[in-house]
């Protein structure tokens, strides 16, 4: 009797053991099949609420049955720490800065990618250059994140962010080739005198969004316009010396002081928009869209949608073009500009969080997205609609060129780069054509430039819109620079936070100062009292450590 009972229990156990994997496989089959809707936090306005409302998004849905729902927020960087504190973070998250990434890793909120990478097809190929850098930046060599706009190579037009200027003003003054700060000061002063109003509104000389958290960092930008240093796009206490491959203090750098002085001159002369300290990105965009801003500092990417608006509003001659700027000292020295090519971009990191319902499906999609096929679809669009193959080379269609030039929402309407976590690699296909046709030098001018802009560059005597920079600059890969991250809990990390808060205020004080030299001297006393040298030293220590780690990982990835 006992024996029978034992056999019955054994048989039952065997049946259950056999059935569990069957049910599990049903469940996983269901997981693989069901429509997977992922909510994405986006910082820019979208023209649609779901990705499958766009032509490119539909293809992603057909292929992977994954759809993105967009949750627009004003400044997602501010929400990241709050989301971590509450545990309410999305399935895929964008993290701004290495310190925030570290906070998420410490809280065990991110999925480690090492196993996925080992089994990936395209991820490890696409990021072959980046992987040793990413490992070098973490203490245990594990990878939890990947980054947008890397890798980057020469098939892409370099990112040049100097000054966008209204072309009709250049025409009015006989198409001057502006370069030095004096050139710009005199040009803008005369343009404002000659044009006090634009379409019934008061003209402003130069705009920039200083009310944004990253706004004050734009005031130091002369540091990247010529010489040895290269901007990292932050309010940090240090700046990267590309030539000597080391960190140096930001505040005392001559080019940074010149930069503040330039803005001070513009402000005192009424050329710099007096509302720039309270202006956000959207307010600046509005001023460019209406054409009342004669120029825009650094944020030249804003001018593409502004130009489309100017054309549609019947003001095509006002369209903005990009032109160079350098300090007087940089012009006199004639040093080459270090054009930043970002090897890694920790301030634009992406991760799969532990809240992801199906991390395997997300990574499978990401892995495919990093293939040439994926990058072409996501950045060049659909063959026949957005591009055609001519002699095997992708060539933009007229509809695509027309859409980019006339519709400010064209890219989002069509679903280009519909999810920023796809990487948007700045590389090209086997024909050497950049995945993003708008960034391919062979098409850059054709796609990006309107007839008016082409006319402007021709009148300036340029053979193409990038001529000045390609002649006066050299490509400068950032290498290990971006892997150097201060521990936010360390003394240096806390001091750096204090410095960031201080320099944002100090920079605006300098710009608005009636006596620039006296104000700088006064602020310099505060700076010296902070003891920022310890931050500089710490950064260089981290650099040395990361160099050792990198050497180890590059030989054994």
């Amino acid at each position: 009797m006992k024996r029978h009972r034992f056999l019955r229990i054994l048989a039952l156990t065997l049946m259950v053991t056999m059935l569990i994997p069957t049910f599990a496989s049903f469940a996983s089959a269901e997981a693989a099949d069901e429509e997977y809707v992922i909510q994405l936090i986006v910082s820019s306005a979208q023209t649609h609420s779901r990705s499958d409302e766009t032509p490119i998004g539909k293809i992603i849905k057909d292929k992977f049955n994954i759809v993105f729902e967009y949750l627009p927020v004003n400044d997602d960087s501010e929400k990241q720490s709050l989301m971590l504190a509450t545990g309410d973070y999305p399935e895929i998250i964008r993290l701004e800065g290495g310190d925030m990434v570290q906070d998420y890793i410490d809280a065990d909120a991110l999925v480690c990618l090492d196993d996925y990478i080992a089994n990936s097809t395209y991820f490890k190929q696409r990021y072959a250059e980046q992987i040793p850098y990413w490992r070098a930046s973490s203490e245990d060599g594990k990878i939890f994140t990947w980054q947008r706009y890397v890798p980057s190579d020469l098939t892409n037009a370099p990112e040049i962010l100097d000054i966008g200027v209204r072309s009709d003003m250049l025409e009015q003054q006989g198409w001057p080739n502006l370069v030095s700060e004096d050139d710009w000061f005199n040009f803008l002063q005369k343009a404002m005198q000659d044009n006090p109003e634009t379409n019934g509104q008061k003209t402003v000389g130069m705009v920039l969004p200083l009310a944004e958290s990253w706004g004050p960092s734009l005031l130091t930008e002369f540091c990247e316009k010529g010489g040895e240093t290269n901007d990292q796009g932050t309010n940090d206490a240090v700046v990267w010396n590309q030539v000597e491959q080391k960190w140096v203090p930001t505040w005392t750098l001559p080019a940074v002081i010149d930069s503040y002085h330039f803005f001070n001159r513009l402000y005192q002369a009424g050329i710099l928009d007096p509302d720039c300290f309270t202006d956000t990105y959207d307010q600046v965009q509005e001023k460019i869209n209406s054409g009342r801003a004669l120029s825009v500092w650094y944020c030249t990417w804003m001018s593409s949608s502004a130009n489309a608006t100017l054309v549609s509003n019947g003001n095509p001659n006002m369209q903005y073009i990009n032109m160079p700027v350098r300090s007087n000292a940089q012009v006199a020295a004639g040093l080459k500009r270090q054009i930043r090519v970002e090897t890694t971009r920790p301030f634009d990191s992406y991760a799969i969080t532990k809240n992801a319902k199906y991390p395997d499906r997300i990574f499978a999609l990401l892995d495919w997205a990093l293939s040439d096929e994926g990058q072409i679809l996501l950045q060049s669009g659909v063959e026949g609609t957005h591009y055609t193959l001519v002699d095997g080379k992708r060539t933009p269609t007229d509809a695509y060129i027309n859409g980019v030039l006339t519709n400010p929402n064209y890219n989002t309407d069509e679903g280009f780069d519909l999810a920023s976590f796809f990487g948007a690699c700045k590389q090209g296909d086997d024909q050497g054509i950049a995945f993003n046709l708008q960034a391919a030098p062979v098409y850059y001018d054709e796609i990006f430039l309107s007839d008016r802009q082409k006319e402007a560059y021709k009148n300036l005597g340029w053979s193409n819109s990038l001529e000045y920079w390609t002649k006066t600059g050299e490509l400068a890969p950032t290498g290990l620079a971006a892997t150097c991250i201060l521990d936010p809990d360390s003394d240096e990390g806390k001091l750096d936070e204090k410095f960031k808060a201080w320099i944002a205020v100090a920079a605006t004080k300098l710009v608005a100062a009636e006596d620039f030299d006296a104000t700088w001297a006064e602020l310099n006393k505060e700076y010296e009292a902070m003891g920022v040298d310890s931050i500089v030293n710490k950064y260089n220590e981290i650099l040395a450590t990361n160099q050792e780690r990198y050497n180890q990982y590059v030989t054994n990835p």
Partner: protein, 312 residues
């Protein structure tokens, strides 16, 4: 014997509670919500004395002692201007807000045309319900460099260059105090209008028999009757003297005026939420709460001594 009296007293109190159970039930939602939303979050104060890490349980955080309190008080660049800004703007807004509302209510009572009086009362209450974003949009339209005020002053030839009112540290206190008084005027005046409605008509009749003019009635009947309300509102307001509308300061603060505009709540937001320094921000919040409590008790005590009127 004493024990027996106490037991009997407790029984009577219990019987009274059972008898008045409907009243206690009505009170229950308020008690529960205060407990959940006001007292339960006080457990978070643990963060102020521990090294809290984002994403981890606060009770796993290692003990840090009072280093964050020390950091706040020794960091004069942090503490000094924040305390001064908060006190100046909030005290001025509280006092001026109450005085203006008192005067407004007294004068409004004298308006005989009831429709007009009701319209003015409703209109004055309206700003209290407006979001700070909309209020800022109005202020921006008026006071920005291209705003109506600058345009008018320039067209009249009174100024050459526009006044940078929104980005000037010298004007930020005045701007915030003015906006606060305007915003709260209707709300505060309702309290005084309600108190005026409770003044016995006989007092006015007696005053008129004695030959009082309308001004005398305001001065010697209405005003003295409103003093208790004024004191209650002053004591209640002093308890939240370190509280500011975060959304208001979030919008009005910029890098030019931050030295005179930054208040406790904005400072906590900047260090706590933006920089993820939750322990430090909580320590600042604890300091704020304790100082507010001391102020509340102090003002109540002064009021009791000076006017024999107090809240508790």
């Amino acid at each position: 014997m004493t024990h027996g009296v106490q037991t009997a007293g407790k029984r009577v109190a219990l019987q009274k509670m059972v008898r008045q159970r409907q009243l206690y039930l009505m009170l229950l939602p308020a008690v529960v919500s205060v407990a959940i939303f006001t007292y339960a979050p006080l457990f978070g104060w643990w963060m102020a004395v521990s090294d809290y890490k984002l994403g981890k349980s606060i009770f796993q955080a290692p003990w840090a002692g009072f280093k964050y309190f020390e950091e706040f008080f020794t960091d004069t660049a942090g503490a000094g201007h924040v305390i001064v800004n908060t006190l100046v703007m909030n005290v001025a807004a509280l006092v001026l807000g109450l005085v203006c509302a008192l005067a407004f209510a007294i004068f409004l009572k004298e308006v005989r045309w009831s429709k007009f009086r009701r319209f003015v009362q409703s209109a004055s209450f309206f700003p209290y319900f407006m979001s700070w974003v909309i209020i800022y949009a109005v202020i921006y339209a008026l006071f920005s460099n291209d705003g109506a005020v600058n345009a008018s002053l320039q067209s009249l030839g009174l100024i050459d260059k526009p006044l940078n009112i929104l980005g000037n540290p010298n004007t930020s206190w005045g701007l915030i105090i003015t906006v606060d008084v305007w915003n709260i005027l209707g709300y505060n005046s309702v309290m005084f209008i309600a108190a005026i409605a409770g003044i016995p008509e006989e007092q006015y009749e007696a005053a008129r028999i004695d030959g009082a003019t309308r001004f005398h009635e305001m001065r010697y009947v209405t005003l003295p009757n409103l003093i208790p309300t004024l004191i209650v509102l002053l004591i209640l307001g002093s308890g939240s003297i370190f509280n500011s509308y975060l959304d208001q300061f979030f919008i009005f603060t910029n890098t030019l005026n931050i030295s005179t505009m930054e208040v406790f709540d904005y400072y906590i937001y900047r260090f706590g939420l933006k920089q993820g320094n939750f322990s430090y921000a909580t320590a600042v919040g604890v300091v704020k709460t304790i100082v507010s409590l001391i102020l509340l008790v102090g003002v109540n005590w002064i009021s009791r001594k000076a006017t024999e009127q107090s809240l508790f």
